[in-house]
Every structure is written in structure tokens, then in C-alpha cells.
């Protein structure tokens, strides 16, 4: 309830996927919890004590723009995996609206939902969810098979995405013969095969080694650049969120804590929880000059070098320290502020 209204930079009309007041409550007579304000206001322990219910997702609202990488972050148990399953109704939401391309998803019947899942959405799972009795190529073409495409067509398409994710040469192996990273590439290829509009990732890399994880993150960045899909990405790893996300939704106990870009989370934490969360981040790598510029002091020389507001602090450090006067932060010809040595050092030394 804190964050969603603070960043109304997207109009409903240009959102690809719009989530409004979404609830998912597990437990007996779950329906009553979102309906009755006195129950909806209870925190986790009180709600459980009073009703035996657990709210995994509480009154979430956000929009995902076309082509955006939208990251949902939170610790385990914060409801992020439930949220992503609610988006395609793999888990049926308890209350709220889901609008995809102007269509009300919650009103879709079983058949329509299947059609959407077959062509518009795809999901990548934490433990891959591969079918051990099928070869790589048959795993990848599973989605095409169930929507009734002919064998030559699906073979051709499967081969395309296998090449795209860098699995060439492994088509006829079985999943158990591949490493974890390679298995997740199969999961990725399977999700890409039916050419969806939205890719949903449920902590896809948390079961992988750190090295492989970084490699796969780079892979996702590359794929996003090449195929330009909209992505909803679930993770508990802040550096992953900062690396991939255009915007990040931070969740706690099912509710939104803050929604914003990476530098907004680091530069302007909404509360102590977020501040604690982002404490160990290399701030210089995340913050841009916009966050540290200050109003010029009286009599300060304003003929120093100019930089844009979206330059990272790390990139500006050398220039600012070498300049003998404050650096100006200018956007479209307007002076936003200046940055001197102490502002830069405050960020860099903080690490």
C-alpha cells in the first residue's frame, strides 16, 4: 500500500499487464479476508491466529510495460513465487484484477486461459520442471506439441530456440545428462519456443552455482536485447535484481514495500527494511549523479565540466576528482545541480 501509487509513470493504456488489488489467501474461507477491512489489516501472525489463513499476496497493484524487465524481489516466504503463479492463474487469485492487453484474465474460462498460456505467456522454473523421459529437443517442443503443431514445424522451431540459447549439439541428450546450467537453458528454450509475449521467471537461477548464475544472467540480458520480450523476473538476489531489472518491486509478507528503479531503491529507500536490504550494495555502481547532485553554493564557480543525470557515480568519479571545480549535472540544458569531491567520496568511501 506504500509504493504502488508513487510511480504513476505508466498509463493503464500502455501497460501490457496490469495488476490491481491482487490478493492470494490460503486457508479456510479465504474469500472473506480481502473483503473485510478489519481482517485485511491484520499482520501475518494475527491473521493466522484469528482465521487460520495466510495471505501470500496482499493487495498488490502494478503495471508492466511492453518490453520491460520487471523484477519482483523478496526473501523466501514473501509471496513472490505465489504472485508470479497468480499472473497466469496457475494459482487462482483470491481477489483483484488482472488485465493483459486490455483483457480481463480473471474472467477467462479454462479454454481461453489455455490458449493464452499456449501463445502469450511462458514460464521458467526454479528447479527447471523438465520432463526426464524426453530428449532436450522434445522437452523444448513440448509446448508446440500440445498446441497441435506438425512434427516438422515444431522440430524446426525447437532447433531455432535451441541455437538461440546456446544448446546446439545437445538436442538428443536427456535432461539428466546435462549440468544444472544447461538444464535451465532447456527450460529457457522451452519457454521461448512458443514465442510468448511475456516470459515469467520464478527464481530461475537460484539452484545454480554462482559462476553459472552470472553466465545465465548475462544470457538473459542478451536474450532480452535480441528478442525484446517483456519479462517478469522473480528473485531473492538483490544484485541479480539490480543487474536485470528495469524496475524492481520489493515484497515483504505478501505486500509491496517499494516499487522503483534500482537506483531509486538504493538512493531513496522507502523505509528501514529497504535500507537494510540494500545496505551492502556497491552504491557507486547503482547510483547515478541525479541522486547526489546538490544545489550550487553561493559564489561557487559554475564553469566546470558537464555530465548527464543518468551517469553512474562510478563512471564520473575520475572526472569529478580531477576537475578543479564542481561538475555540473545538466539535463536538456537545465542545471539540476553540482557535484564536488565530497559528494563523490561520500558514495565511493561508503563501500
Amino acid at each position: 500500500m506504500t509504493a504502488q501509487l508513487e510511480y504513476p509513470d505508466l498509463q493503464d493504456s500502455d501497460a501490457l499487464l496490469s495488476v490491481q488489488g491482487l490478493w492470494k489467501v490460503f486457508g479456510p474461507k479465504a474469500q472473506r479476508v480481502p473483503r473485510r477491512p478489519e481482517l485485511a489489516a491484520l499482520d501475518r501472525t494475527d491473521l493466522y491466529a484469528k482465521t487460520g489463513c495466510t495471505a501470500a499476496v496482499r493487495d498488490l497493484s502494478f503495471d508492466v510495460a511492453p518490453g520491460e524487465v520487471f523484477v519482483v524481489m523478496g526473501l523466501s516466504g514473501s509471496g513472490k513465487s505465489t504472485l508470479v503463479r497468480c499472473l497466469t492463474r496457475l494459482i487462482e487469485p483470491t481477489a483483484g484484477r488482472l488485465v493483459f492487453e486490455g483483457e480481463d484474465l480473471r474472467a477467462a474460462d479454462e479454454k481461453r486461459l489455455r490458449a493464452l498460456r499456449r501463445s502469450k505467456f511462458s514460464m521458467v522454473f526454479q528447479h527447471f520442471g523438465l520432463l526426464p523421459h524426453r530428449k532436450v529437443i522434445d522437452n523444448v517442443s513440448y509446448g508446440l506439441e500440445i498446441r497441435g503443431e506438425s512434427k516438422p514445424d515444431r522440430r524446426r522451431r525447437a532447433q531455432e530456440v535451441i541455437d538461440l540459447v546456446g544448446l546446439s549439439g545437445n538436442e538428443h541428450l536427456y535432461p539428466e545428462q546435462l549440468s544444472g546450467g544447461m538444464q535451465q537453458r532447456v527450460g529457457l528454450a522451452r519457454a521461448l519456443a512458443n514465442d510468448p509475449d511475456v516470459l515469467l521467471f520464478d527464481e530461475p537461477f537460484s539452484a545454480l552455482d554462482p559462476l553459472i548464475r552470472r553466465e545465465m544472467q548475462t544470457e538473459v540480458v542478451r536474450l532480452h536485447r535480441e528478442v525484446g520480450k517483456t519479462m517478469v523476473f522473480i528473485t531473492h538476489d538483490l544484485s541479480e535484481a539490480l543487474k536485470l531489472g528495469d524496475r524492481i518491486l520489493l515484497m515483504r509478507d505478501g505486500a509491496a514495500v517499494q516499487l522503483g528503479t534500482g537506483d531509486e531503491l538504493v538512493g531513496a529507500p522507502a523505509d528501514d527494511y529497504v535500507r537494510e536490504f540494500v545496505r551492502d550494495v556497491q552504491r557507486a555502481d547503482v547510483l547515478t549523479l541525479r541522486w547526489i547532485a546538490r544545489r550550487p553554493r553561493d559564489g561557487e564557480p559554475l564553469d566546470g565540466p558537464e555530465l548527464g543525470p543518468d551517469v553512474l557515480v562510478r563512471e564520473a568519479t575520475r572526472l569529478v576528482l580531477e576537475a578543479d571545480r564542481p561538475v555540473k549535472v545538466v539535463s536538456n540544458g537545465t542545471l539540476l545541480g553540482v557535484i564536488g569531491d565530497e559528494e563523490i567520496l561520500a558514495v565511493v568511501a561508503d563501500n
Binding site: R85, L90, R117, Y174, R190
Partner: protein
């Protein structure tokens, strides 16, 4: 002094349960000497009660008149006869079956190779050739035809039920309840009531086998479907699979190996039931064993028993190999070889339809008679050398233990026995034990075979005591020692897959026909399951608990008696329960080798039509005994569990 004692609170402690049990038994024995011979409800071998005569009269009324049961019987009969025509009996105006021995061996070996591997294919060919050499080809094929029919019908019912129970929580709960109940009934008891509906013959045998063999397949199919990782199912749904697609393309393929384990258990259960079903005139090896047992021809019984063991081993190995086969689809080379193999099989079938030598198993090399002679010789030798010892042991146990116990049970008035049993049940299991016990005892009296029931009960109790003692010792040993476990477990597994008939043969050789023989066979039959459950229970005791006990300096015996056995108490009561049921079913089969009583009544009921009703009543009495013993031990188990829970809360 008086003042002091009056001030003290007198603590009224309930006496320990073992004390109450002891007092009850002493009172019983005392009463026995006073009341001996009154109201003992004796019924002679050829005597019958009005109930028995009524059942005999209505033997055909229910089965033959009823359209529903008739339709089932005729359909099943046709199916079995069809299979027999194909592999075992002369058919279609030819003196030989449709496919001769060479064709059958080729088909069986080919299937073993295609579903398993070449090793089990060789084993299959060798095994079938061996039973042919034993001179038991046709009997073996009858057994195989009946087993195949029963297994196919079982799976037809069991797999869909298992899938249903795998998908629906409610169906799963109902199925678990029903299957648990079915497993408590001794195998033997299915036979009697079924003959009422389906008449004596292959149909009733097949249906009895079906009922006995289907549960493992239902259970394991449901379990397999439930253990498919939820993420794979979710992935399939997220790609837009329909329910049918998810089932066919994800759930079923991923449950395959566990379902095959279920099929394996179904096949083994079917084989063992098909041989026992010889009692209701099912054709095959069971008949041979049965006739030999009845004429005390140990050599022939051993030969046929050996054939059953060989077939059991072949079926077990092949299905196990089929379950272990990895996911991979066949390589091109294997596909070509499979195609060539199929051609070879067709050629073999053609040979077996064209040449007599390939159709009828050659009888000139008959190993069977030699095996029978050797077995008889060995038996005689054992008789001569150990006869003094084995017969002495038998007589000592019979006179020292069995006769007094049986005398106590059969000589006391029925109401005295009933009162004592209900009281014991109440002490051990509360009302949950006492009420079912009372109901079962009343019904036992109504069956009219009270005294035979008491004879069977005496043998069952004695055998169970031995089984529990041996099972506990072996189970604790195996549970505490991994090496012993890996060594002992295959033996136990093998023991459990053998049809019960087979056990009788060696004991017949050692001890002759007697009640003791049945008890000894029952002990050997029931020890594996008891040992396994105890060993698993001991193993399940948390390592930390045992380490804690060791760290305070307990001796091995103290660890066993004060930590491991008490913690594993639930497993041990379950072991006693299963031991009882296994013993009961074996003691009944032992009616064939001189144990008499209920087992004999049932067998006689199948053999002599005028005793049919009595046999049926005896079958019912076995069910009642089984249910009574099961309820009492279950209630006792629950009671100990409650004590533990209450202790935990404190």
C-alpha cells in the same frame, strides 16, 4: 501410628497390565479344570449344522441364477480358456495348443529382452526350458495362462483406480482405507465366498487372484502419480496442457518405473494365488503340488514346487529389469535387432505350429522324474539320519506346548473362552479391541465350527509367538548392523515372493504330516515380513537418540531394551499384527498336511459337495479369526501410542 497412617494419602495404583493378563490366564486355567468338557461345541468331521446344509443347498442358487455374476463368470471363463487354448491345451481340432513350446519360449524370451535386457531373456528361455524338462510343460503353461489372465484383468481395474487415487485426494483416502482392510484378510479366505458366486473352477480362481493381486498395483500407481515433482506438472500447465495431456505426456511417463514395481508385485501375488487356487480346481502346477501333498508324495511335490519357484524367479527378474530400464528410446542398432528378433519369433511360432517336436515338449529327456526320485531319496535319508531328532522335536513341542494350549482352548466351554478373550482384548486394547472381539466370537459360534476354530487358533498363537521371537531377534540384529541387513534382505525378499504352497514341501519331508509341520511352515512364511518391519523400525530410531544413550555409557543390551525397542514400539506392534495374519493364512493352508481344523474343513468343502456349506462356514470362521486378531492387535498398538503421546505432553 494409626493417626499417621490415616493422614497419609493412600495411593491407589492401577495394577500393571501384565499383572492383569497373568491373573486372567491363571483364572482361566483354574476354571478349565472345573468346567472341562462342558459346552465345547464339538462337531465331527462329516457332521454339519443346519446353516451348513442351507449353504450347501443354496450353492447354485446365488451363482447360477444371478445374471450379473453369470455374465462375469462366462466372460472370465472364456478369457482364461482362450489363453489356455493358445499356450497350454489342445485346441481348435488340433492335438496341440495354437502355439507350441518353441513359440512360447521364443515369445517369452523376446518380451523379456524387449522390456528388460538380454540377461533376463536368457534366464527366461532357460527357466521355461527347465520346467519343460521337468515334464511339467502343460501344467506350467496352465499356471502361466491363469496368471496372465488374472494379471491383465487386475491391471485393467487397478491402473485406472490407481490413477484416480493419484489425482484425487478423496479417492486416495478411500482407496487407502479399503486396501488396508483387504490386506488384513488372509489370502485363503477369498476363495471360499467367491465359489458361492462364481462356482468352482478357473473363473472363481481368476477372480480371487484378481482381488488378491490388484491392491499393490493400485497403491503404487497412486503413489507414483503423487510423487511426480509438482514443478514438472506446473510447467506442463503453464504451457497450456489440458488435463488429459498432462496425464498422458507428463504424469504417466514419469510414474512408469514405480508403476512397474506395482505390476511386479501384482504378478508375484497373482502367481502365488493361482497356485493356492488349485483348491478350487484351478488347473496348473498348484494341482500337481496339491495332489502330491494329499498322497504324501514328497518327490513329486518337490518337483512341481521347484517349477513354481523357477517361474516365480523368472517373472520377478523380468519385471524388475523392465522397471530398471532407463528412459532412453532404443538406439537404431537395438531397433534393428528387435526387428530381427521379431522375425525369429515368428519363425519359431511357425515351427511350433508345423512340427511336432516344436509343438509338444519332448518327453525323452525327463529330468522331472529324476528330480522326484532324488528328492524322495533325500527325504528318506533325512528321515533315517535326522528322523529321531526332527520327530523328537516335533513330538516334544506338540506334547509340551501345542496339546496343552489346544486342550485349554477346545476343552473350555465356549463362553469361558469368549469371556477370557474379550477381557484380554479390553485390557490390551480398550473398547476398540473388546467390541470387535465380542462380535467376532458370537459370529464364530454361529458358524458352527467353533472347535475347529479353536484348534486353528491354538496353532496360530503358538506359531506367532515363535515368529515374533525370531523376527525380533533377526530384526534388531539387521536394524543395528548394516552389513547383516544387506546380506539378509535379499533372502527375505525372495522368501516373500514364494507362493505359500512351496513352503510346505520341505517341512513335510522333515516332520511328516502333523500340526507341527504347518506351524513350522507358517513360521518360515511369516518371519521375513516380521523381520523386515522390525528392522525398518529399529533403523528409523534417530541416530542422535542412540548416540545420546551410548554417550552416557549404556551397554548394547541397555540401548536395545531401553531406547531402540521402546522407540520402535509402533513398528513392533505392526510386525506382530502382520506376523499373526501371515501365520493364520499359512496355518490354514497347512490344513492340507495334517494341521486339520479350519483349513481341512475348507479343503474338504471344495472336494466333497455335501460338505460345501461347512467349508464355506469354515472360510468365514477364518475371516472372523483374522479380523478379531487384527482388531485386537491394532487396538493394542493404538493404546500404546496413546500412552506415548500422553507421556510426551507431560
Amino acid at each position: 501410628m494409626a493417626a499417621i497412617t490415616s493422614d497419609m494419602e493412600v495411593e491407589v495404583r492401577r495394577p500393571r497390565r501384565s499383572v492383569i493378563v497373568g491373573v486372567l490366564l491363571v483364572v482361566w486355567v483354574a476354571a478349565y479344570f472345573v468346567l472341562r468338557g462342558i459346552d465345547t461345541l464339538v462337531l465331527g468331521g462329516q457332521e454339519t449344522t443346519p446353516l451348513h446344509r442351507w449353504l450347501t443347498e443354496h450353492r447354485d442358487g446365488v451363482g447360477q441364477g444371478n445374471v450379473f455374476f453369470d455374465a462375469i463368470r462366462i466372460a472370465v471363463d472364456h478369457f482364461v480358456v482362450l489363453l489356455q487354448n493358445v499356450i497350454s491345451q489342445p485346441s481348435f481340432d488340433r492335438p496341440v495348443p495354437v502355439i507350441g513350446w518353441l513359440g512360447v519360449v521364443a515369445i517369452a524370451a523376446y518380451c523379456a529382452w524387449a522390456f528388460g535386457n538380454w540377461k533376463v531373456a536368457v534366464l527366461t528361455a532357460a527357466g521355461l526350458a527347465f520346467v519343460g524338462l521337468q515334464g511339467l510343460w502343460q501344467e506350467s503353461m496352465d499356471t502361466l495362462a491363469l496368471t496372465v489372465a488374472a494379471v491383465l484383468l487386475s491391471l485393467l481395474v487397478a491402473i485406472p483406480l490407481g490413477i484416480w487415487a493419484g489425482l484425487s485426494d478423496r479417492a486416495f483416502r478411500v482407496a487407502t482405507l479399503v486396501l488396508d482392510l483387504m490386506q488384513t484378510l488372509p489370502t485363503f479366505v477369498y476363495l471360499a465366498p467367491l465359489t458361492l458366486f462364481f462356482a468352482i473352477g478357473p473363473a472363481a480362481a481368476t477372480i480371487a487372484t484378481l482381488i488378491y493381486a490388484a491392491p499393490p498395483a493400485v497403491r503404487l500407481t497412486a503413489h507414483a502419480i503423487r510423487s511426480v515433482p509438482p514443478e514438472s506438472v506446473e510447467a506442463a500447465r503453464s504451457l497450456g496442457s489440458t488435463r488429459g495431456q498432462t496425464l498422458l505426456k507428463v504424469l504417466l511417463p514419469m510414474s512408469r518405473s514405480t508403476v512397474v514395481v506395482g505390476i511386479n508385485q501384482t504378478i508375484m501375488a497373482a502367481l502365488s494365488m493361482v497356485t493356492v487356487a488349485a483348491l478350487i480346481d484351478a488347473p496348473g502346477l498348484g494341482q500337481t503340488v496339491l495332489k502330491a501333498l494329499q498322497t504324501l508324495d514328497v518327490g513329486v511335490a518337490f518337483n512341481a514346487g521347484l517349477a513354481i519357484v523357477v517361474i516365480a524367479i523368472v517373472l520377478d527378474r523380468v519385471t524388475t529389469a523392465a522397471g530398471d530400464r532407463p528412459w532412453r528410446t532404443a538406439s537404431v542398432r537395438r531397433k534393428v535387432l528387435l526387428g530381427v528378433g521379431a522375425l525369429a519369433v515368428l519363425v519359431a511360432i511357425w515351427f511350433s505350429r508345423t512340427y511336432v517336436w516344436a509343438a509338444e515338449f519332448p518327453s525323452d529327456v525327463n529330468v522331472g522324474s529324476r528330480i522326484a526320485v532324488v528328492a524322495t531319496d533325500v527325504t528318506n535319508w533325512v528321515h533315517n539320519v535326522f528322523g529321531g531328532f526332527t520327530y523328537g522335536l516335533r513330538d516334544a513341542v506338540t506334547i509340551g506346548l501345542l496339546n496343552p494350549l489346544e486342550g485349554l482352548l477346545t476343552g473350555s466351554p465356549w463362553w469361558l473362552v469368549s469371556a477370557v478373550v474379550v477381557a484380554l482384548a479390553a485390557v490390551l486394547g480398550g473398547w476398540r479391541g473388546a467390541v470387535p472381539a465380542a462380535v467376532c466370537l458370537v459370529l464364530l459360534v454361529a458358524t458352527g465350527v467353533w472347535q475347529d476354530s479353536m484348534v486353528t487358533l491354538a496353532s496360530t498363537l503358538l506359531a506367532t509367538v515363535v515368529v515374533v521371537a525370531v523376527g525380533l531377534a533377526l530384526g534388531v540384529w539387521a536394524g543395528r548392523n548394516r552389513r547383516v541387513d544387506t546380506w539378509i534382505r535379499p533372502v527375505l525378499d525372495a522368501g516373500q515372493t514364494m507362493p505359500p504352497f512351496v513352503y510346505l514341501v520341505p517341512f513335510l519331508a522333515l516332520f511328516g504330516t502333523s500340526r507341527f509341520t504347518a506351524i513350522a511352515a507358517a513360521v518360515v512364511f511369516a518371519v521375513p515380513v516380521t523381520t523386515k518391519i522390525v528392522a525398518d523400525g529399529i533403523r528409523a530410531v534417530p541416530v542422535a537418540t542412540v548416540e545420546a544413550a551410548n554417550s552416557v555409557g549404556s551397554s548394547a543390551w541397555q540401548v536395545i531394551s531401553k531406547v531402540q525397542l521402546p522407540v520402535a514400539r509402533r513398528a513392533i506392534t505392526l510386525a506382530v499384527n502382520q506376523g499373526l495374519i501371515y501365520v493364520l493364512s499359512m496355518v490354514v493352508v497347512g490344513g492340507l498336511v495334517g494341521a486339520g481344523a479350519l483349513g481341512y474343513d475348507v479343503a474338504a468343502g471344495f472336494a466333497q459337495s455335501e460338505l460345501y456349506g461347512k467349508g464355506l462356514a469354515a472360510g468365514l470362521a477364518i475371516v472372523l479369526l483374522g479380523v478379531m486378531l487384527d482388531r485386537i492387535t491394532q487396538a493394542a498398538a493404538r493404546r500404546t501410542q496413546n500412552f506415548q503421546n500422553r507421556g510426551d505432553k507431560r
